[in-house]
């Protein structure tokens, strides 16, 4: 056993309203009579509850800043020993009325600042500017409105979309985010909206069938951002795929690289192997479902091979710990770091996030942990 100084940045926490209708306090009068979806997805709720079982009680899970603070920032066993947490709240889905959707995003942003960021004396919470990609003008305006807030460190958009994010209608949004030095986080959204079925073969018939597949859709967003030239045109733009799925990155990027040699002349603005865009433009939040099983079952990697597996496609440079608190799949830092080498562990638990979000070391209290 060895002692390791370890810091931890949790890049993926979903705070919730105390109750669904609370959002209406942040909406203008013009929308008073509009129905707004609840955050709970209608089709793919986890049987038994979407959240960690111990969080059902006095408050809606993830809705009380004090409780969330304890669960994240306290040392084990009461907490996860985290130093900073990036809050990325869900909105209410890709509802048909895109202008109302943008107002919902603004309401969530105002609430986040009001309830979580301003009162936070510990200065450990950071937040996300949620925008609606289906309203590019509104999204740009929202970024301009809030980019100056020192605790809002990224822009957030849903995984769900009827067009992948490399397409041209979205580019002004990414441009605005990049201009303000804000990464764009893509996360599976709550609520309900006009979406295609979540798998390539239609609807999943089971919750696990949905949960296992849905995060993998990030790859189409990623591939189009590269192949359409969005990363090429915006050198400082960063995307964070916040639901994991990086376990499938190597196989699919290998394909994207391989076919580039054949397809280059259709998209000649892609002037390097597609995978070469990853270090400068892409990050992932960890999840409870990515990566080979350390005990060698699942037919992959096996004990001791986790380190080597993380070297493929330089994943240890791309990955950032994210708990997904208060989701039922909330994962502790040690699970994400299991089997990693010291340097990989550092990068994944805090260094990559510190660099991305400018969370400077002086703000971090070094923690001693026993490995």
């Amino acid at each position: 056993m060895s002692n390791a100084i370890s810091r931890i940045i949790d890049t993926n926490v979903q705070p919730h309203f105390r109750y669904n209708a609370e959002i209406r306090r942040y909406l203008a009068d013009a929308h008073k009579l509009r129905a707004i979806p609840d955050v709970e997805q209608q089709w793919y709720q986890a049987p038994g509850g979407d959240y960690r079982q111990d969080l059902y009680g006095e408050h809606y899970p993830g809705s009380d800043p004090e409780t969330v603070s304890r669960h994240l920032f306290d040392d084990a066993p009461g907490g996860m020993g985290v130093d900073f947490a990036i809050l990325n709240p869900p909105t209410r889905g890709n509802i048909a009325d895109y202008l109302l959707n943008s107002r919902i995003c603004a309401a969530v942003n105002d609430w986040l600042v009001d309830r979580w960021l301003e009162p936070d004396a510990t200065n450990r919470f950071r937040g996300t500017i949620r925008v609606n990609p289906e309203d590019p003008k509104g999204a740009v305006a929202e970024i301009e409105r809030l980019a100056g807030h020192p605790k809002l460190v990224q822009v957030g958009v849903p995984m769900q979309s009827r067009e992948p994010y490399g397409k041209p209608m979205f580019e002004p949004i990414w441009e605005a985010a990049a201009a303000h030095g804000l990464p764009v986080a893509v996360h599976i959204n709550g609520g309900n909206g006009v979406d295609y079925p979540p798998t390539f073969a239609g609807h999943a018939h089971t919750y696990p069938g949905y949960a296992a597949f849905m995060p993998l859709n990030y790859f189409v967003h990623l591939a189009t951002l590269i192949i359409e030239g969005v990363f090429g045109r915006h050198p400082s733009l960063k995307f964070v795929f916040a639901d994991g799925g990086y376990d499938i990155l190597t196989p699919l990027m290998w394909r994207l690289d391989t076919f580039w040699l054949s397809m280059r002349d259709q998209t000649p603005w892609v002037d390097r192997y597609p995978s070469e865009y990853l270090p400068g433009h892409v990050r992932f939040c960890s999840s409870a479902f990515d990566g080979p099983l350390e005990d060698g079952s699942g037919g992959a990697a096996g004990a001791g091979k986790m380190q080597r597996w993380m070297d493929f496609t330089s994943k240890s440079d791309l990955l950032m710990y994210g708990s997904s608190y208060p989701h039922w799949s909330t994962s502790e830092p040690d699970l994400t770091a299991a089997g990693l080498g010291d340097e990989q562990r550092d990068k994944v638990l805090w260094r990559n996030a510190s660099e991305l979000y400018g969370l400077v070391a002086t703000g971090l209290a070094a923690k001693e942990t026993v490995k």
Partner: protein, 386 residues
């Protein structure tokens, strides 16, 4: 699963050579639409094949490199006597069996239709044509195997079609489109087909059925890319969706003898998908009473993957990945002849870890399809094992 010995007469004569390379993805074409129509029921001829100004549509919307000139095939695969690439069994035998050294090849016609009944009629027409031209008249060497194309939209009819070909000496598998219009493979909708296939010892293979002529490309969940490049790089996620459904919806428990072959959709994704399914299953066992075993075990037992198109990754890294993945019993070599993205056997063999090569190039397909260990040599072919 019962392996049916499906071989031509083995004479033990001197003109036999050892089977060393089995190619699990080759695309034969009818010489002309008219030839195919001769096998179709008369009342369907005008209903299935376009007429008039729509007689020969170029219907790409995701076009492969230079496809206006190449038609998505190897430029050197056009038969010298005329006709489209893959339409001349003799020339295909020369290029694939003689030149490339393939011992046995599984033929997979690409065909699909929009309406359920048309899909069934078209595919059974292709089966009759394939069995006649490729598996009979041009198979004296016994080195072609065929696929029974079936209608995904009408599984009961598909089951009867499978029964129709049961016992045929050269039909090796069932072939179904993965573009199943929103019904994933694990759905009980396909049970009659899986039942018939399993009972008759036929694996069920699936292969991209193209864009043409009826716009069958699935809508991707977050929308579709603009170029073939990223469209096809993402294509494995269709197979991932189907595989997750087969496992999580309990198809492998309903059909213990079922074997599924994912063709031309890559295979390196299988490692993360297996561990992903295992993790979710462990965390959510109560949601999956129909999944009695660990998901990755189902994959190892029930699923095969063909190898083309091989990724162009660094050889050492690629082999290391394959060793880690440990699916040496589940991969089967393929060329995709005569398509442009063809993998040459000589290139492919060096991509694999040494201790997996024999299984990938020959052993796994031989076991799955019940293939012989020797075949008749072609005139001019080397008689010594490669």
């Amino acid at each position: 699963m019962t392996t049916i010995e499906r071989v031509g007469p083995q004479t033990g004569q001197e003109d036999e050579i050892a089977v060393t390379i089995v190619d699990t993805d080759v695309h034969p074409m009818p010489v002309s639409g008219q030839v195919l129509k001769d096998y179709a029921p008369a009342e369907w001829v005008d209903k299935i094949w376009p007429t008039g100004n729509a007689a020969n549509p170029v219907s790409y919307f995701y076009d492969t490199p230079d496809s206006y000139k190449t038609s998505s095939v190897r430029m050197d695969s056009m038969p010298p006597k005329g006709g489209f690439a893959g339409s001349d069994p003799d020339f295909a035998a020369k290029q694939l069996l003689l030149d490339a050294g393939v011992s046995i090849a599984t033929l997979e016609p690409m065909c699909d239709a929009q309406l359920p009944q048309a899909e069934h009629v078209l595919k059974s027409t292709y089966n009759d044509w394939l069995a006649d031209v490729w598996l009979d008249k041009n198979n004296a060497h016994g080195r072609w195997r065929g696929s029974i194309s079936v209608s995904a939209q009408t599984p009961e009819q598909a089951a009867r079609e499978v029964e129709r070909w049961a016992g045929h000496p050269y039909m090796a598998q069932v072939l179904m489109t993965p573009q199943t219009r929103g019904i994933p493979f694990g759905n009980p909708h396909f049970d009659p087909l899986y039942d018939a296939a399993s009972r008759n010892g036929f694996p069920v293979a699936t292969h991209l059925m193209g864009q043409t002529p009826f716009e069958l490309i699935p809508l991707y969940p977050v929308g579709n890319p603009a170029h073939w490049h990223d469209f096809f790089a993402s294509w494995p996620l269709l197979y991932v969706s189907h595989l997750m459904s087969l496992v999580f919806d309990g198809a492998f428990d309903r059909h213990p003898e079922l074997r599924v072959v994912f063709v031309e959709g890559g295979f390196t994704w299988a490692m993360p998908v297996m561990s992903r399914m295992d993790r979710i299953w462990e965390a959510r066992r109560a949601d999956l009473p129909q999944v009695r075993r660990r998901p990755s075990e189902y994959v190892r037992e029930h699923v095969r993957f063909t190898t083309q198109p091989l990724e162009d990754a660094d050889t050492v890294e690629f082999r290391e990945y394959l060793e880690m993945m440990d699916l040496g019993d589940n991969l089967m070599f393929s060329t995709d002849y005569p398509h442009w993205s063809y993998d040459a056997p000589a290139y492919a063999i060096n991509r694999f870890p040494a201790d997996q090569r024999e299984r990938i190039m020959r052993g796994n397909a031989t076991a799955l399809y019940g293939l012989p260990s020797t075949v008749k040599a072609l005139p001019g072919e080397r008689l010594d094992p490669r």
